[in-house]
Amino acid sequence: MAEEVSQRRKIMGIFFKNRTAIIGAIITLIIILMAIFAPWISPHDPLEQDVYHRLTPPEHSHPLGTDMYGRGVFSRVLRGMQISLLVGILSVLGGMIIGAGVGMVGAYKGGKVEAILMRAIDILMSFPDEVLGIMIMIVLGSGLFNVILTITILMIPRFARLAHAPTLAVKEEDYITATISVGANDLRTIARHVLPNIFGEILVMSTLWLGTAIRVEASLSFLGMGVAPPTPTLGGMIRDGVDYLGYAPWVSLFPGLAILIIVFAFNMIGDGLRDITDPKLYT
């Protein structure tokens, strides 16, 4: 009897975990579709000012109200979502490719190369994202490309660490030593044997770090150092609304809610996937 109950609990648990991932995936899909079809869904041009409708509360023609220039918050949130997703996806991809490469090369080469690379990574990781992000943005200057580059740099050490340890482990395997000793192209051999091993974890962490990347983008644009206005960014819209918080809270609240939902959806996917791929939590 007890056996059966725990069995049912286990299955329920797995179902819940899957369900988390599935709900996250559905929300993400809706968000991506909204971002893609933004030009058709938007009731207004996100940049068009309308002095007669400043700070109007949500109503029929402006579903999420208007900001201090009379621009529709809904249309601007859609445009901001496009930017957030673009920055998030490209910087995580960039960080993944460069970072995993660095981690594997470091582990493979060993010796001084490894020591220097991993030390550099430790140091990069010891900066809070905001501090390092601000420093890099000051050097690069604002703009869409520079934001992507900055957040890519923030992502590199994370992926490098992720790829480093498993590469070390695989390198020690006898069959690798054997293939290398018969003259196989060593680095490629390692990559071929390491990548399948860490693919699951990279996937999980990528979805979680997508959330991080989008949050960092929002923070930078909230501070006024992201993509330059008038292009709407979610963080920038929140900052614009802070002065009107008392009587027109929608200007800040809805863009923030959009960030929250996007990041939450990615975290749900990552969290659900992690529990499924992590067998330790199963037994």
Binding site: V131, G211, G224, F264, K280
Partner: protein, 313 residues
């Protein structure tokens, strides 16, 4: 004792490299500080005179050595903007940031660990689901947005707390009323992180053989949990609290901006907006030292809880 000294020795080069990176980055950034201070219409002579006054006319390696020498003496140089010593500003700003971070971490630990234990012991029951949903939402919140929400509800609408500012550090009541909301913002996010790791760490330990042994000996469940599970499960949590505190330091910058708290983060953003490079480099050095000190503290606490580490493994 040897353990502590070893940790400190490891921390020094990190700090040195980070400070060097700050120095280099600021030098690489576009724009000449002297020109920036004097504006577009300054004469060439005036710019050169100011460059000399600011010590910018000497080779970069000499500037670097002077910068390091200054740091060692606790002297961060002068602000490009107004020529005042940066150390004075830092002296007033640092306490505001430190008390914010400290309270945030304490909030997170005090709420997160019990919540993590509670949800782990009721795994896959309703409290567990609610706890997991709460921590996942907390992980998704940008700190500045959570700050704005709390500000809107508790300060602007309910008038329970002052809206902005840092309060008077020497007046306990005033100080705490200004501190509560920003610290609670950071604390809630910290709670989300800590709940999560505590829960998974306990679940992992519950599967260990020694727990099964303890149970099969007929020990009462309460004793198994307190004596065997918690002790082992909380070790990894300690080092992760250190890691998440770095996230919290980053969040404190954003929260200081939202609540207009006169801390180091606000100083940093102000310096960034006005291109005050010397202040910026000083502030980055301060944040780097926060992180290094924090890591050191985590290591030390870890060493106290787990005697195996001290014996030098």
């Amino acid at each position: 004792m040897g353990y502590i000294i070893r940790r400190i020795l490891i921390a020094i080069p990190t700090l040195f490299i980070v400070v060097t990176i700050a120095f280099v980055m600021i030098r690489v950034a576009p724009g000449d500080p002297a020109e920036a201070r004097l504006g577009d219409y300054a004469t060439k002579e005036a710019v050169e005179a100011l460059q000399e006054e600011m010590g910018l006319n000497v080779p970069i390696w000499l500037q670097y050595l002077r910068f390091l020498k200054g740091l060692l003496q606790g002297n961060f140089g002068r602000s490009i903007l107004n020529g005042k010593p940066i150390s004075n500003d830092l002296k007033t700003a640092i306490p505001y940031s430190l008390e914010l971070m400290f309270t945030g971490i304490v909030f997170g630990v005090l709420l997160g660990i019990p919540l993590g234990i509670y949800t782990a012991l009721r795994r896959n029951a309703l409290p567990d689901y609610m706890g997991r949903a709460f921590s996942l939402i907390g992980l998704s919140f940008p700190s500045f947005y959570l700050g704005i929400l709390l500000l809107l509800v508790f300060a602007i609408k309910l008038h329970l707390f002052p809206v902005v500012g840092g309060g008077d550090l020497h007046n306990l009541g005033d100080n705490l009323s200004h501190l509560f909301l920003p610290a609670f913002t950071l604390g809630l996010i910290m709670t989300a992180y800590i709940t999560r790791v505590t829960r998974s760490s306990i679940l992992e330990v519950l599967n260990e053989d020694y727990v099964r042994t303890a149970r099969s000996k007929g020990l009462r469940e309460r004793i198994v949990i307190y004596k065997h599970v918690l002790k082992n499960a909380l070790l990894p949590v300690t080092s992760l609290v250190g890691v998440y505190s770095i996230v919290l330091i980053g969040g404190s910058i954003m929260v200081e901006i939202v609540f207009s708290r006169p801390g180091v983060g606000k100083m940093m953003i102000g310096a960034m907006k006005q291109r005050d490079y010397t202040t910026l480099q000083a502030v980055v050095a301060v944040y780097a030292s926060f992180v290094v000190i924090l890591n050191l503290l985590t290591d030390l606490i870890y060493g106290v809880i787990d005697p195996r580490i001290k014996r030098g493994r």
